[in-house]
Subunit: 154 residues, 2 copies
DNA sequence: GTGGTTTTCTTAACGTGTTCAATTTTCGCG
DNA sequence: CGCGAAAATTGAACACGTTAAGAAAACCAC
């Protein structure tokens, strides 16, 4: 273990230059621009993530949704009922494995996403204009690298 | 290197290549490694951020803590009482501006951080080893660029 | 200085997600 | 079959987010 000059192994970094806080601040700054839209359409951030993840993959079991949307399984379980009550998703038992419950968008859920998509895309484009498409891609590439490095290890 | 984005202004990007989800996934992957330590010491993520922010600046008013720790003012207000009850922070009215309440670490709060710091630093170093110091710095620089671009605009 | 506005913080109330433990159902395997 | 493991759900306690409302202090024009 080589010791670092700026930190001697006992002192902590400046908070703005630590991954947890820097990533949080970045995300909050981005989300500020999306929140008004989400609340205007009556969905929470977490619900939106679940819907987006389901849109991307026709049908997923609860575990996959949990991982893809970064939401714990018990929360997925409860949210699924909420979203089902709203008519946006539907569930069924996996015929091949009765333990698994498969979740997918309903037609209404799909329509909902299609309806909101232009608004969301417009916000994203404004961000791209301000930050620069290349910078965003570079950031996303760095995030990928981080994920690969940390998830490989477990 | 950079993937071609297949969006026409109405379709949404693949979730893994969107800022909100990518940043969230990155942060969650990092936090996974810190959470056991935090809960072992009986503090929540948010409380930890408040303590770290206070450690960095001797004394801050509630608004500054709120911004630095990415926590809304009402939550700061509640958390301050919790942390005061634990003896980790103390508050006083700003003598120069009676509206402001100044928050700072107590000796016990400072000792607590000093006690936990080595553990935290060790986890961070493991992350650095896996990801690479240069890659982390590059990621932090990209985050800075994003923050500057978006916060300037308001 | 006075009155009105703005800032800063606090409180309340509600909803929602998190967390951990416990349970149920099903699967896989010896 | 019978056992242990996996997937999902549920319950309970808690913390935080969010909105709205309110109190206290500062600011500012007049």
């Amino acid at each position: 273990m080589t010791r670092k000059a700026a930190r001697n192994g006992f002192e902590l970094s400046e908070t703005r230059r630590t991954l947890p806080i820097a990533l949080l601040r970045a995300r909050e700054t981005v989300m500020e621009r999306f929140r008004p839209m989400l609340s205007a359409h009556g969905v929470t951030e977490q619900q939106w993530r679940v819907l987006r993840v389901l849109q991307e993959a026709d049908e997923l079991d609860a575990t996959d949704v949990s991982e893809a949307a970064c939401i714990l399984a018990p929360s997925i379980s409860r949210m699924t009922r909420t979203l089902e009550a709203k008519g946006l998703v539907e569930t069924r038992k996996d015929p091949a494995d009765g333990r698994r419950s498969l979740i997918r968008l309903t037609k209404a859920g799909d329509s909902f996403l299609r309806q909101v998509a232009p608004e969301s895309a417009a916000i994203y484009e404004e961000i791209e204009t301000l930050v620069g498409r290349d910078r965003i891609e570079a950031l996303l590439d760095e995030v990928d690298a981080l994920l690969n490095a940390l998830e490989r290890d477990g």
